[in-house]
Amino acid sequence: MTADGRLIGDTVMEMKNITLRFGGVVAIKDISFDIKEGEIRAIIGPNGAGKSSMLNVINGFYHPQEGEVWYKGARRGNLKPYEIAHQGIARTFQNIALFKGMTTLDNIMTGRLTHMKSGLLSQMIWAGKAEREEIENRELVENIIDFLEIKSIRKTPVGRLPYGLQKRVELGRALAAEPSLLLLDEPMAGMNIEEKEDMSRFILDVNEEFGTTTVLIEHDMGVVMDIADRVVVMDYGKKIGDGTPDEVRSNQAVIDAYLGVPHD
């Protein structure tokens, strides 16, 4: 139980001694940490620390050379990203990866793909299961649109939306998957204070209402310390701190990494 009464459960995911190399460059060096059900777990660190690489390992864009990924109590093999999506891991991207030509509604509907099972033939004649499925999923998507307060842009192609709204649509698409694990790569990058506050509120609301386990990469330290339950700190591909925001804040290695240390 956390202070605000949310339930933190068992370990959902465990990263064991992950090492990721690109040729001679070591992006992640022997990192282990766990993610518990229902928590907001932040990964922070200076630019180039390997945070995004870590997220890419979790959702299968990268496969680490060493180490193991344990998910829901079983060791996960080298699955393709789309297979991992079907296991209930959804994500957003640092540079926004929306389907720009499609409307907000359609974009969020793609988030439901992992839950839709109708066959190609029934879709072609738009009858039976395909039709039912469209309608059911549409309902859930409309709820998400309501929740994120983006009703007015339902039918707008997302390429035309301002940056802050695009980020919100991308969050909506990830939420539509009803993920067991939600990965957010710098959801507040490039936003103004007001937009940041909105986004923080959405992340907290999602976590509180649906108990969604969230892994969050963020640069804005203030935001992270406010909303995260536990924080992993990375620097140069290594883990230099892990714990509650308070613990991390008083960790000397973390302070040095952020403020720099004089070389003796």
Binding site: N59, F61, K80, P81, Y82, A85, H86, A90, R91, F93, A97, L98, F99, K100, G101, M102, D106, M109, T110, G111, R112, L113, T114, M116, S118, L120, Q123, M124, W126, A130, E133, E134, R173, A177
Partner: protein, 332 residues
């Protein structure tokens, strides 16, 4: 109004219908280009191959008869039965879907993340392979294709429009096959658009066309989408093959209709389905009207051979992305 005017209208209508035929071919290109960024040089040969296969099934030809005869010294040609057109079309469609699966398994799978030019070269290789393979399978003689679509001038239209232009005008001469082609193409395009707008697979197709990484992250398998796209392109090729094959026989030159699709694509944009349709219509009408108004009276005729390319070239200079293509703006 004089007969001259109505003759012009007739040329216009014929241009529209010729344009529909161009659009049909261009559509196959656009589908594949949108979903996988590949300019599929083999689209024309796919239409030829589909038509050959259709004729083969219809007439009960034994595939590879020539090869079998040469190796075993036999004298076989036909199974001795004929397949109804409808069944033969279904079988030909099956072959095109099988073809799509093989293309994915044997070629695309190995070329993921390669430069577009390499994928383009692969489709050139594929085109020539299919051309030879089609010959080997079904023989290289010119074949007649008849799936039961009526051909020739439509007398009903001719008789009922004759009153328009007075004594010198005998009514519009329109080929019934062209009218069928127009209706079929319209149905095909409408259903493709509906499919891509309102089904989950259609949505996945559009998603893959927009962003591969994001598509993967929402659980779309690129490989199965490619099979579907190539399958649909194969189906479009089959329809184009039936129309063009019924019109002018199934022979090698059928694959060259792909060249006619190029100016259509330049005009309409490589990434737009409506663009392929409108582009085809503009080219069809443009080349017929140009010939009628300027070509034949002043330039000695035969302008249809080059008009489309010239129009496309002019268009490229002023609007490189085509009428409906996406403008690519890159941040410097």
């Amino acid at each position: 109004m004089g007969a001259e005017f109505f003759f012009g209208v007739e040329v216009f209508l014929n241009g529209l219908m010729a344009g529909v035929m161009y659009s049909l071919v261009a559509l196959g290109f656009v589908l594949i280009f949108k979903a996988s960024g590949i300019f599929n040089y083999a689209q024309g040969v796919m239409a030829l191959f589909a038509a050959l296969t259709l004729v083969g099934f219809q007439e009960g030809q034994i595939p590879f008869a020539h090869l079998i005869n040469a190796i075993f010294g036999t004298e076989i040609h036909h199974f001795g039965f004929e397949m109804p057109a409808f069944l033969a079309i279904l079988f030909a469609l099956g072959v095109m879907i099988l073809f799509a699966i093989l293309v994915e398994k044997l070629i695309l799978k190995h070329l993921v993340n390669q430069e577009p030019i390499i994928l383009f070269m692969a489709t050139i290789g594929l085109a020539y392979f299919m051309e030879g393979f089609g010959d080997l399978m079904w023989g290289s003689d010119v074949k007649k294709l008849n799936v039961g679509i009526p051909q020739g001038g439509n007398f009903w239209i001719e008789e009922n429009t004759a009153f328009l232009g007075g004594d010198d005008f005998y009514g519009f001469y329109l080929d019934t096959l062209d009218i069928y082609a127009t209706v079929i193409a319209a149905i095909l395009v409408t259903s493709l658009v509906l499919f891509s707008q309102y089904t989950k697979t259609g949505r996945a197709l559009r998603a893959v066309a927009d962003d591969h990484q994001a598509a993967l992250s929402v659980g779309i398998s690129l490989r199965s989408i490619w099979v579907i796209v190539w399958g649909i392109a194969g189906f479009v090729a089959l329809v184009a093959g039936i129309m063009w094959g019924s019109k002018s026989g199934v022979q090698f030159s059928l694959s060259l209709i792909a060249l006619k699709a190029l100016p259509v694509l330049m005009l309409g944009g490589f990434t737009s389905i409506p663009g392929a349709i409108i582009g085809g219509l503009i080219i069809g009408v443009g080349e017929k009207m140009f010939e009628f108004l300027i070509g034949a009276p002043f330039l000695g005729g035969a302008t249809e051979n080059w008009f489309a390319y010239m129009l496309a070239l002019i268009f490229l200079v002023f609007r490189p992305q085509g009428l409906f293509g996406e403008k690519i703006i890159e941040r410097v």
